[in-house]
Symmetry: C2
Subunit: 289 residues, 2 copies
């Protein structure tokens, strides 16, 4: 087989209060990524805002917008102009009182192919997402773009092998995970390294289990008591890290993925052939007893 390579660009940056400033940062870094050869560029979770979920405040619903909407339109123009695929995570207003944590998928010709609404919503100290985000109801999807078939999951989804599997079953060659994860300052010294390790490991495991590439993009910077840990990365089907960003620097992570490697991998290890789907019914149960 001849190589089929796709180059990914992951802009990692610190957010500020101004959504306009964040959007400008995103655009600047998208242009930088494209100039470095990136064909599919995935922005971080809630890419135009601070991570406002640290406390529950109804005023934050002012940050929402429809998808498609003004920001989608702006970035669709950029995608078209640069000829790149974009994954654009925003705070979606679906109706008054109904909001989602969503990513728009924009093809290289500017077409909005669809959107993914975050399915798994956390609620933990510093991460009060159940207040803000209605759990997604669009299921798990893959989109055939100009540069490959991609799937998108968002942050808390990344801990769930079911979500990765269901997206891979839709044909996704690359799983993108826009993310906002960090250390609570009080835990950083004790649990910090282990938490980061777990976060990266479980996603590398998804790459192996599904014979696909995985790309996680996380923000940096301190917001309130949370220090976002960056470390955006791309892994191949063997779970090997192809590229990894720093903990605290603004940077565009670039990684080239050879998709033919996936077929080589799946021929040697044909996991999809042998799944015991007849035994998977109890995955729909909360607990087994």
């Amino acid at each position: 087989m001849s190589a089929k390579t796709v180059t990914l660009g992951l802009p990692q940056y610190a957010a500020v209060e101004s959504t306009a400033a964040n959007a400008d940062t995103a655009e600047r870094m998208i242009r930088q990524a494209a100039s470095q050869g990136a064909q599919v560029i995935c922005l971080q979770e809630l890419c135009t805002t601070l991570y406002f979920c640290q406390r529950e405040d109804p005023a934050h619903f002012d940050l929402t917008e429809p998808i498609p909407g003004p920001t989608t339109a702006r970035f669709a123009e950029i995608a078209k102009a640069l000829g790149v695929v974009l994954v654009l995570p925003l705070f979606e207003k679906r109706a008054v009182g109904l909001y989602h944590n969503t990513a728009a998928i924009i093809d290289a010709d500017g077409t909005v192919l669809g959107k993914y609404r975050k399915m798994h919503i956390p609620e933990d100290p510093g991460f009060h997402e159940k207040f803000y985000f209605t759990p997604g109801d669009l299921g798990y999807r893959a989109w055939e773009t100009a540069f490959g078939t991609i799937g998108v999951l968002i942050c808390w989804d990344q801990w769930y092998p079911e979500a990765a599997r269901l997206t891979a079953l839709q044909g996704a060659d690359i799983l993108f995970y826009p993310t906002a994860i960090g250390w609570l300052l009080e835990e950083r010294d004790t649990l910090g390294p282990a938490q980061h390790h777990a976060w990266q490991t479980v996603q590398r495991g998804h790459a192996v289990a599904n014979g696909c590439h995985v790309a996680a993009i996380n923000r940096i910077g301190q917001e309130g008591d949370t220090l976002f840990w960056g470390r955006s990365f791309v892994a191949n089907p063997y779970g090997e890290v192809l590229a990894e960003a720093s903990t605290d620097q603004e940077e565009v992570l670039i990684a080239s993925c050879d998709l033919t490697e996936q077929e080589d991998f799946r021929r040697i290890w044909p996991f999809f052939r042998d799944r015991r789907i007849d035994s998977f019914g109890p995955l729909q149960e909360r607990w087994g007893r």
Copy 2:
């Protein structure tokens, strides 16, 4: 919470032609493990035989025995005498013409608590298991033993997040993976490191996704064109490797697992709370489109 520690023992050895000799090796290493403080001891896949699946030969069905049967009885006596829990993987004869790749779970008082029949059966060059093993029909289980609630999956199962999840949902605190995995000699130089990396990574991912400990026990030695890679290991819920054996040495790997760490982990990251079980139906499909 006070610590609740359980010490695992994983005897890693090379098999020989004589099943009696292999059983003697297993007994010797179980006694060694117990003398080093092991409370739950898990033997490698097909622990009394060579890895005979490299070619298809009906004569190999002579290696089968019923479970419970003579080998189970022998090791149940050992378990009782030493006061240890044993996981004993054997080639099970269920009926004439009906055979399974099975593990017996024996409690510290010598009671055979039950058995696990390998659910996912590979069929690949050097691994002709679909000829020998009927896919398991007992499902995914967990057993409350004297030293903790344990689940058992076997080898090819280890690539399937669904199997790990279903076993964890049964309440397993530790997932044991008796294994026979190695490099085909022709692939070792090119793919060897990546294959080992993938194998360990996906299992460490299961530990993270389920907030449990994982213990994999693999054989060593060259059999035909396959070089079994050993590297038995134990990982904690953060996916960190607590202990790891060599690639080629007979050894008893000992690791102490603090099960209270699991509750600490699951309180911070309550993955089970948020599983979108309403969206998991398509996991029972072969492919998504």
